[in-house]
Symmetry: C2
Subunit: 267 residues, 2 copies
């Protein structure tokens, strides 16, 4: 099944555009998990079991696992195995932000899409379409290209203007017109830049966006929903990480955010 | 010791600008290594022992290890431990091409610079200086920012012109003027684009460049040397990966390339 169809089916099934970021920084884990043999996996399993019926996607942040080396990678693999075995219709995003020459991208695609078995991966656009072909050619997998990122300094390069078009506008245009021949491209557009989000929606039609930056980064749900929904009332994967997983009640936080999002969907 | 001083000391000691890329794609390893418990580590050790006296740097490509998951990560850790224990003055570069928001970059910096112990790491510029601070603030470590990459499709975004300046020229200027306050920045400039290399040299003064693309990608040593040397006859980390490590005689290939490079250095 094409990746975006898988995501949309899950959205309809659980009536949610929410993605929970599985960023289990070991230093921030509750003490009871730190002592276990597989602390990040056990923490993730606890989060997944509480929130899965409220979410359409989970997005592990690769940095949180790599910080623990081989042990972290094993916990990530166990997390992915757990998700695929128990909740195979939940969409999974590797927040890896990879982007290398084609030969190396083949290795990363093997690691992330095949060995770990993710449905989609976040990618840097800087090397261009040609370099990303090992990802773009995987019609069954989602390629989520960085367009306008959520960080405070995003404008430094992304706002550079070329013939009246900013770099993020050019990326949005290229990806939606040229890179998307397998209908498997998505874009990263930060919740912290709702005006840019509205503009990317205009440029790309009904393309689906991964939207980080809600919660601790300060993005507003109402602004994101007004700016970003597509014509079928979807088109957004709205991520929250630390605001949910490190809260005192992850299930309640996920439900609250899912419901707040749905207020703007007329569902 | 600042990272670039470490590199330059090694260049003087062994009279070499050569970097060997440790990209041990498991599928391409000689059969005798595939059967071992730590195939990538044992292969790397074999390459290191043959070539170390001819090289100033080794550059593991993270994708080659991640393709084997936790087992690959362990082999990489063993490789780094072996290098630091036996050849502590050799410069080590993690070819990771990372670049995320600041919070996640802290995790990647912990993984790559602290746990694995690399001297330097390759980074994407797309999120800007602010996001890269967890790397840039590490005065003892090298931050090697992608500027003009070696791949055939590099021009798609990197050649976009903003007020008469191409994106790679803007990146070169920003990194050398603003991002380099700790004197720990370097740039990636592909050997396959010698005219751009000459221009980046003009923009950045004596900055050191990591130059991939010699060998299987088709870059020319003579063009790189004429375009890229800095005023002290250094300023280049010239990488070759597959052309050396998968040749029938890695030591002879490394010596040949080291000597070819030195023809243009008057040393």
């Amino acid at each position: 099944m094409p990746a975006i169809d898988k995501y949309n089916s899950r959205v309809d099934k659980v009536n949610s555009l929410l993605c929970v970021g599985l960023d289990p920084d070991f230093e921030k884990l509750p003490e009871r998990f730190k002592k276990l043999e597989h602390p990040q996996f056990e923490f993730n399993k606890w989060i997944i079991d509480q929130t899965v019926e409220l979410v359409s996607a989970f997005k592990p942040n690769m940095g949180a696992y790599e910080a623990r080396g081989g042990a972290g990678w094993r916990d990530l693999q166990m997390t992915m195995d757990y998700l695929r075995r128990n909740f195979p219709d939940v969409f999974t995003i590797s927040d890896a932000k990879r982007g290398d020459i084609g030969y190396t991208n083949e290795l990363y695609a093997r690691a992330i899409l095949d060995e770990l078995g993710f449905d989609a991966v976040t990618l840097h656009p800087y090397l261009g379409q040609e370099a990303l072909e090992p990802f773009l050619s995987r019609a069954d997998k989602g390629c989520i290209i960085l367009c306008r990122t959520s960080n405070p300094g995003a404008s430094e390069l992304q706002d550079l203007e070329f013939n009246g078009q900013k770099l993020w506008q050019i990326v949005a245009g290229r990806v939606s017109k040229d890179w998307n021949k397998n209908q498997n491209c998505m874009l990263v557009v930060g919740a912290t830049y709702p005006m840019e989000l509205a503009e990317v929606r205009k440029i790309t039609g009904d393309m689906t966006f991964l939207v980080p930056g809600i919660g601790t980064q300060g993005g507003s749900v109402s602004q994101v929903m007004k700016a970003g929904l597509n014509s079928s009332g979807k088109g957004l994967v709205i991520n929250s990480s630390k605001g949910i997983i490190f809260s005192s009640n992850p299930k309640a936080e996920a439900k609250k955010l899912r419901d707040e999002i749905n207020q703007y969907r007329n569902v």
